[in-house]
């Protein structure tokens, strides 16, 4: 058999709707036998934050960023119609009623299917995030060269 087909997804956005799309494509590709790498950078890093973790030794600015950024996948808001959180709440309720998987569920599924999640080291540094503040499934904290090596081997590359 030939080498597995690959998908590389850059998740730049920290918007709930866009991240849902990223994880639906990622888990769908993994379920179709493809090797999937997802690289989380900048606002996208919020998705990987673990709930309720306080890292020690952070500067004032780092702590401020930590307070202002969404605290994990459950804390993300819609890119449109958020309406101070009311729109996001309504959308989550509708999705639940229509049995659409939630973002935390999709992340779990992606991990079960062997999707590789990577965090961008430089963005983590800028936003003052530490390794222990990220969910356990993160495979590595990497730089652009790792992304490029994987993307160059991929038949599908997306920037979300």
């Amino acid at each position: 058999m030939n080498e597995k087909e690959r998908v590389s997804i850059v998740v730049f956005s920290g918007d709930l709707d866009k991240c849902l799309a990223a994880f639906i494509i990622g888990s769908g590709a993994a379920a179709s036998g493809m090797e999937v790498d997802m690289f989380f950078t900048f606002w996208g890093l919020s998705v990987l934050r673990k709930k309720g973790v306080k890292a020690k030794g952070k500067s004032f600015m780092d702590r401020m960023f930590g307070m202002m950024l969404p605290k994990g996948a459950e804390g993300l808001a819609l890119s449109k119609m958020n309406m101070m959180g009311i729109g996001t709440k309504m959308m989550k309720d509708v999705m639940k009623k229509k049995k659409v998987a939630s973002l935390p569920e999709l992340i779990d599924i992606a991990l079960q299917l062997g999707v590789n999640l990577y965090a961008c080291e430089m963005s983590m540094n800028v936003l003052g995030l530490k390794r222990e503040e990220l969910i356990d499934g993160v495979k590595g904290i990497v730089g652009v060269a790792t992304y490029l090596e994987n993307a160059a081997k991929s038949q599908i590359t997306l920037f979300i």
Partner: protein
């Protein structure tokens, strides 16, 4: 139909879950065995066709005559 090893109930589930559950369910099946999938998501029809082409599994039949879609897939590899 012979050889139906199991039935996967994906009724009510939306994209991508029927495909995800199908891929997981087929992992512990043997070559030659058939899985029956029940689904209600209309996109499951084109999706299961595409999934079978992509993963090189054999789609034996899709029954869309009733409200519940039934697909039969044989594990060939």
């Amino acid at each position: 139909m012979e050889n139906i090893k199991k039935t996967l109930d994906a009724r009510g589930l939306s994209c991508p879950m029927p495909i995800v559950k199908l891929s997981q369910a087929m992992k512990d099946m043997n070559v030659g065995e058939v899985i029956e999938v029940l689904a209600s998501d209309p996109s499951f029809v084109p999706d299961v066709e595409a999934w079978c082409r992509k993963t090189e599994q054999k789609l034996i039949k899709i029954d869309e005559s009733a409200e519940i879609i039934k697909a039969y897939i044989e594990k060939v590899k």
